[in-house]
């Protein structure tokens, strides 16, 4: 599994281009999330792909060839913070409710909706954590689930910022050599 971050133009069709590219390269996408950034013209994507390092390099370099992609970077080997968010609707009756509440506490999840026959649980964290919670919830009966897919960020001073609007447009024109 490889994790990539991309900054893209925030306009229609870009998601399609990114997805179409991965399909063309025969790279399976496990999760792809898009959200706005501080700059409303730029969106940030986190792409988690079923591929090896070589495939990730190809995907990264090919993504950056798309006109609407400002930057793409494989961050798999860097110190990362990864988060996934899930809403899980589980069956809950009067009897098992206390047991459920305990599990929820252990996983630092929250109950965000209560109905006579069910609860909605909100949980965020690493994929493993959410998978772990799901596992223990399953015996109660998971009625519905929605997950966001992963977002990721490199830790500490390791910054990954979109390139400046005015600066280096010529990169597209040259991609020139830097040596000497």
């Amino acid at each position: 599994m490889q994790t990539l971050v991309a900054y893209v133009e925030n306009k229609p069709g870009v998601l399609n281009r990114v997805a179409s590219l991965a399909r063309r390269l025969a790279i399976n996408i496990d999760s792809l999330t898009v959200g706005p950034t501080e700059n409303e013209e730029i969106a940030r994507m986190t792409i988690v792909a079923h591929t090896d390092e070589r495939g990730a390099h190809r995907l990264e370099a090919s993504l950056e060839k798309l006109v609407d992609v400002l930057l793409a970077e494989n961050i798999s080997t860097r110190a990362l913070l990864e988060r996934d968010l899930a809403l899980i609707k589980v069956a809950a009756d009067q009897q098992n409710r206390p047991h459920l509440m305990e599990l929820i506490k252990v996983f630092r999840a929250r109950v965000v909706d209560v109905a006579p026959e069910s609860l909605i649980i909100e949980v965020s964290g690493t994929v493993d954590k959410i998978d772990g919670l799901l596992e223990v919830l399953r015996p109660f009966g998971v009625l519905e689930m929605a997950r966001t897919g992963r977002i990721a960020m490199t830790r500490g001073g390791d910054l990954l910022q979109p390139p400046l609007a005015d600066g280096e447009r010529t990169a597209l024109e040259t991609a020139g050599s830097s040596a000497k």
Partner: protein, 570 residues
């Protein structure tokens, strides 16, 4: 100044230096055609939109500039798909302009509506829909920048009919390209560069693999200086042919599936490969597990996505070939490779004996003879545009090109039907050059309707049909790998001479070797298009051949006595 979107388009194309547009009209692009009529642009009416894209492609490859093709929405646009993919695979800068239904009905399955940007997304470098007249000029300028920059490729601009019709204030200076900012990558660090220099200066058996990127980069001089500095033997890809003179003793010839045996063997024995602007296509490498196992590899390449894609390299110098070579050359110290070059010459061994040129004349007319005579007669100076198949490979082997952009051929997609329209495009790009279209009897029948375009435009293009009565390249595979079961490869053709005459084109049929040179001479002297139907040996094969997936050194060689009797002898 208030102009319509259509007028703005013509104005922008003119300002961008476009002279010819290859296209075909229809409802959704009519406003543009009306504006074209009032402009100084020359419109070349093709007979099929595929032809328009190949013409634009041929124009781009011959000139080094950008070719422009135009079509209407729906079927006009979909007919362009093959030509766009052809340009994409060979990194050719083509701008395609299509009409689209009005923006108000987009998405409603309107008459002749097709999602051409969706269809062409994976086969264009970029594409875009324009729905406002205000955006026409900027978008076209952006399309030109994108098509030509970095690794070139086709760009499609789909303009809705209302955007063509609407009027808006037009000021050229106000519509500068506004492309998204890109990160400047630090392409290779000093350590990598130093490592390349070290490899170059310690190699005992270096071979340079020269590709199409040298042409694209305009690195012809820088490349020659690099080769001279290190005295490196040069092997070329099909699309690299012309980047270094064939007559130079350091030029070994073409590599790969139908490359010369000594070239492939030299690559397999090399201790250093320096790949410049080439992408290690599978036709070039054969089985990757056994490819150049003794060699370290340096890859000079503008597209990061090509690095380690097929062949894992030791040093990658990502950047423009010209810039990288200019940086490298001053650091080259070792230049005595005479023993190695002597060895490669020995590898040529019996190749000369096996060469069809050395065989006694038995009255058979071989395609190789035709190509070789064409080369001699034109002194290697013509622009040759080939189609796809056996004749394409024989051209690569027997026509020796000394100048860049004189061989134009579809390499990556291998598109039959390419040659005739691409040849027309090349003639527009280089009206003073002699252009020869070398095409198989199969491929010619795919786009032969463009003969009418030649006549309508009063062009002078020479056409050599290498007529073997077969889809020859496929027949060869059937001969080698399917026990000569020639399923669907024998091919009936019209009488090409009569056909040409019907178009008003002068034509001749040649069946013996003695007629070849006089026929070529007469064609060259004629100040008009001439088509020659060369009836060549039907069951000849291209040698050597590395079977698909085999190791590069496992070549099928021309049998020592190939003059086996053929059906016509019996």
């Amino acid at each position: 100044m208030k102009l319509t979107g259509a007028e703005i388009l013509c104005e922008a194309l003119t300002r961008l230096g476009v002279r010819e547009i290859f296209g075909y009209p229809g409802g959704a692009i009519l406003p543009v055609y009306d504006a074209l009529g009032k402009s100084k642009l020359r419109h070349v009416l093709v007979r099929h939109e595929q032809g328009a894209t190949h013409m634009a492609d041929g124009y781009a490859r011959a000139s080094g500039g950008i070719g422009v093709a135009m079509a209407t929405s729906g079927p006009g646009a979909t007919n362009m798909v093959t030509g766009i993919a052809t340009a994409m695979l060979d990194s050719s800068p083509v701008v395609c302009i299509t009409g689209q239904v009005s923006s108000k009905v987009l998405g409603s399955d309107a008459f002749q509506e097709v999602d051409i940007t969706g269809i062409t997304m994976p086969i264009t470098k970029h594409n875009v829909v324009v729905t406002r007249a205000e955006d026409v000029a900027r978008t076209i300028r952006e399309a030109f920048v994108i098509a030509k920059s970095g690794r070139p490729g086709p760009v499609l601009v789909d303009i809705t009919k209302d955007a063509q019709q609407a009027s808006t204030e037009f000021a050229w200076d106000a519509c500068v390209p506004k492309l998204p900012p890109k990160r400047l990558r630090n392409n290779h660090d000093q350590a990598e560069f130093d490592r390349a220099v070290e490899l170059l200066n310690t190699a005992k058996r270096p071979v340079v693999l020269a590709g199409h990127g040298i042409m694209v980069s305009g690195a012809i001089c820088a490349f020659e200086q690099f080769i001279r500095a290190g005295n490196y033997p040069v092997a070329m890809t099909l699309l690299g042919i012309g980047c270094f003179p064939a007559k130079d003793p350091l030029n070994l010839g073409m590599m790969g599936m139908h490359g010369e045996a000594w070239v492939n063997n030299a690559i397999q024995e090399a201790d250093l490969l320096i790949a410049v602007g080439m992408r290690f296509d599978d036709r070039v490498t054969g089985d990757l597990r056994t490819y150049a196992k003794n060699a370290r590899k340096i890859h000079i390449e503008i597209d990061r996505a090509e690095i380690n894609k097929n062949v894992k390299v030791d040093v990658a110098l990502v950047g423009d070939a010209r810039a990288v070579l200019e940086n490298l050359t001053p650091h080259i110290e070792t230049r005595d490779h005479s023993a190695w070059i002597r060895h490669i010459n020995e590898l040529k061994g019996d190749s000369a004996v096996r060469d069809i040129q050395s065989l006694p004349d038995t009255g058979h007319l071989y395609a190789a003879h035709v190509i070789n005579d064409l080369w001699k007669e034109t002194r290697g100076e013509a622009i040759v545009v080939t189609d796809v198949g056996q004749h394409q490979m024989w051209e690569a082997q027997y026509y020796h090109h000394n100048r860049p952009r004189t061989l134009i051929t579809s390499g990556g997609l291998g598109t039959m039907g390419f040659a005739l329209p691409a040849g027309i495009g090349a003639k527009f790009a280089k009206p003073d050059s002699e252009v020869w279209v070398v095409v198989g009897d199969g491929g010619f029948q795919m786009t032969m309707s463009e003969l009418a375009t030649i006549v309508q435009e009063k062009l002078n293009v020479k056409i050599a049909i290498i007529n073997n009565g077969y889809l020859g390249m496929v027949r060869q595979w059937q001969e080698f790998f399917y026990d000569k079961r020639y399923v669907a490869t024998p091919l009936v053709a019209p009488d090409f001479v009569t056909l040409a005459n019907a178009f008003g084109i002068r034509s001749e049929c040649i069946t013996t070797r003695a007629e070849v040179t006089p026929g070529i001479r007469a064609a060259r002297e004629a100040n008009e298009t001439v088509l020659i139907d060369f009836r060549v040996e039907q069951e000849d094969s291209v040698y050597p051949m590395v079977p698909a997936g085999a190791s590069l050194h496992d070549m099928i060689r021309r049998p020592h006595n190939p003059l086996v009797e053929t059906a016509s002898d019996a």
